[in-house]
């Protein structure tokens, strides 16, 4: 440990860091050596993923949709998928590897994760069916919505606008009207809500 601190803890061993440090960055930092193609990815997908996410990433029931949704982000019902919304392929690799399949995380080999990532690209029509993804060509793949994000701009667009002494009396021309009622929807769990006397 460095001289400045309290002298608490102990240096981490290389094997320990290697066991826990599995994160991947957009520039490829953290990617292990390996590869996988679309066909292999499809096999793994059908076996490990399709039960929730559908054969083509279209999703079963309420589980997340993985593919499609292009052109919907500025519409009324955006479909945010890896293809239509996610900015970086590294996030796909990192997340599938660290947290999927749901209920059996970290059970996929590195090559299986490459193959699944290739299949996810294919199911989003972003690569051909003979595509093989590896640590070497990983950085060449960019996702369609990479430029769709910008840094929190509330300081410029909201904070100054929502500041200052607000109106305290006669703030509206006339009485205020109810425009929407939650009881019409009636989707609140029964417990604890009093609806009528």
């Amino acid at each position: 440990a460095p001289e400045a601190g309290f002298g608490l803890g102990r240096p981490a061993l290389e094997e320990e860091v290697a066991a826990w440090d599995i994160d991947i960055r957009p520039d490829g930092q953290g990617l292990p050596v390996g590869s996988g193609d679309v066909f292999t990815g499809e096999e793994v997908w059908v076996e490990r993923c399709a039960v929730c996410h559908g054969d083509f990433g279209e999703a079963v029931g309420r589980w997340p949709v993985i593919a499609g949704g292009f052109g919907t982000l500025d519409g009324e019902d955006p479909v945010k998928t890896t293809g239509s919304y996610w900015p970086y392929l590294s996030t796909v690799w990192d997340y599938v590897h660290r947290a999927m399949p749901f209920g059996e995380a970290q059970s996929l080999t590195d090559d299986e994760v490459y193959a699944l990532t290739a299949y996810i690209l294919y199911s989003n029509d972003l690569v051909d069916d003979d595509f093989e993804l590896s640590d070497e060509n990983f950085a060449e793949v960019s996702l369609p919505n990479e430029d769709g994000f910008f840094m929190d701009d509330r300081p410029d667009t909201e904070l100054s606008v929502f500041t200052g002494e607000p109106c305290m009396s006669d703030c509206t021309d006339g009485p205020v009207e109810i425009t929407m009622r939650s009881m019409v929807l009636d989707v609140t769990p029964d417990s604890g809500v009093v609806t009528e006397a």
């Binding site: 440990a1 460095p2 601190g5 309290f6 608490l8 803890g9 102990r10 240096p11 981490a12 320990e16 860091v17 440090d21 599995i22 994160d23 991947i24 960055r25 029931g61 589980w63 997340p64 982000l73 500025d74 919304y85 970086y88 590294s90 996030t91 990192d94 997340y95 947290a99 749901f102 209920g103 970290q106 769709g148 994000f149 910008f150 840094m151 929190d152 509330r154 904070l159 606008v161 200052g164 305290m168 009396s169 703030c171 509206t172 009485p175 205020v176 009207e177 109810i178 425009t179 929407m180 939650s182 009881m183 989707v187 609140t188 769990p189 417990s191 604890g192 809500v193 009093v194 006397a197």
Partner: protein
């Protein structure tokens, strides 16, 4: 002994007193509300006959017989008459209860501290059941010496105590398109406010020695979701805590036992539970929880990223849909909570007429940085319908906007960070409903 005392067969009081112990909360409230409507202002009404809860000893067994001894409840629970004060979930919100959320019963709480057992839960892979002895915290990346700490190590660092709110970024997110869920537990209950005891993250990072190029940290959870978020070093060195106690006792398992990260004022997702590792890097990682999730889609199809701070917000907790006015016209207490991720709450305004006229509420209790504040407004209700709203001001001068003002900037699809003003419509019988007004 206690057979005599467990007097669960208590008869409901015949007239105007007491809570029938075997009646459900809902039935009680409904009945009480009806009674209130039928009997005009009961203020200082003279009793027609003696109250048996005073005059009849049989109805007060606690006065005569012995109660439980001190050995009956090594860890006490709330009164059985408070059994309705519980976390609730909304089944249709998520595909699965394991990656899901439940809600703090704000409508039943007062003051500013959330009891540990009622703090809302948000997991992405369920509750990781860890023990203190197996706990390890690793610091690695751009540091002089990658380090491993045990729980015993953490307990030897200098500690601090702070009350902070933790609000889920998605709190009120179901309300972007209009009034949907009927109750402040559901519209505003993804929040809790507790006193954390922990070690300033700065001290632990300094133990490993941050390299000059280290500008970001990546805290990671030990659960099966492997929760990760990128946090700028400036915040990490400012007020983040590595916490192991909440309200004086160990963290609850569902709140990250034995150790969680505390990121004051910032969206709850970043408060990584079951904290097992912190990596230091020179740029953000753009992981799933800061790209696919916790990015805020605007109307033009582009999205804000790294919307960390939770803006000033408030809600009236009573009256509210789960807490109607049951006493009829007369003296009435309005109360609620307010908070800001950017400072304290010096002032809350309250309106009874949907925002046409406002009065300043009375703040009560401690005013702490990035913590919940409690406000009250007492008034004489004449029994006419009300449109209740509260409007928080924070110490930066920011005033809580209306939902309409937020929608003008963001549209309806941003999911997160809805801090718009909430309206409750209260009818002549005191029943409250979640509404929007215009």
């Amino acid at each position: 002994m206690s057979d005599l005392i467990k007097a669960k067969g208590l008869k409901p009081a015949p007239k105007n007193g007491g809570t029938p112990p075997d009646a459900s909360r809902r039935a009680f409230l409904g009945a009480a509300a009806t009674g209130a409507a039928a009997t005009v202002a009961a203020t200082a009404a003279r009793a027609a006959s003696p109250d048996p809860l005073i005059t009849d000893l049989e109805q007060q067994p606690w006065t005569q017989y012995l109660g439980d001894g001190v050995d009956a409840a090594p860890y006490g629970m709330p009164s059985e008459h408070e059994a309705h004060v519980v976390r609730r979930n909304v089944e249709w919100l998520t595909a699965d209860p394991v990656s899901s959320v439940n809600f703090t019963p704000l409508h039943e709480l007062d003051g500013i501290i959330t009891p540990n057992g009622l703090c809302f839960e948000r997991h992405h892979a369920g509750v990781a059941e860890m023990d203190k002895g197996s706990y390890r915290l690793m610091i690695n990346g751009l540091v002089d010496t990658p380090m491993v700490f045990t729980m015993d190590d953490l307990m030897r660092f200098p500690r601090e105590n702070h009350a902070y709110f933790l609000e889920c970024a998605a709190n009120s997110g179901m309300e972007w398109r209009g009034a949907q869920l009927n109750g402040c537990q559901f519209t505003h209950g993804m929040i809790h406010n507790v006193i954390y005891t922990g070690v300033p993250l700065r001290l632990i990072l300094e133990e490993a020695g941050i390299k000059t190029a280290g500008k970001w940290i990546l805290p990671e959870g030990a659960d099966a979701s492997g929760m990760t978020r990128s946090i700028p070093m400036e915040k990490a060195l400012d007020d983040c805590l590595v916490a192991f106690k909440m309200n004086g006792e160990a963290l609850r398992p569902e709140q990250g036992y034995p150790v969680r990260l505390v990121v004051p004022g910032w969206e709850g997702n970043m408060w990584v539970k079951w904290l097992r590792r912190i990596e230091v890097g020179d740029q953000p990682w753009h992981h799933r929880e800061e790209t696919s999730k916790y990015t805020d889609l605007l109307e033009d199809g582009r999205a804000r990223r790294f919307t960390w701070e939770m803006d000033a917000k408030s809600v009236i907790t009573s009256p509210s849909p789960q807490a109607p006015i049951t006493h009829g016209p007369g003296p009435t207490v309005i109360t609620g909570v307010a908070w800001s991720g950017r400072g304290t709450i010096p002032r809350v305004d309250v309106t009874l007429d949907g925002g046409r006229n406002w009065v300043q509420a009375r703040m009560s209790g401690p005013s702490l940085n990035k913590s919940m504040h409690r406000f009250y407004h007492e008034f004489d209700w004449d029994g006419s319908p009300l449109l209740l709203q509260s409007r928080a001001h924070d110490s930066t001068g920011y005033v809580q906007p209306t939902k309409e003002q937020l929608r003008e900037v963001r549209g309806e699809n941003s999911i997160y960070h809805n801090n718009g003003i909430q309206t409750w419509a209260v009818n002549e019988r005191g029943i409250a409903e979640n509404v929007e007004v215009g």
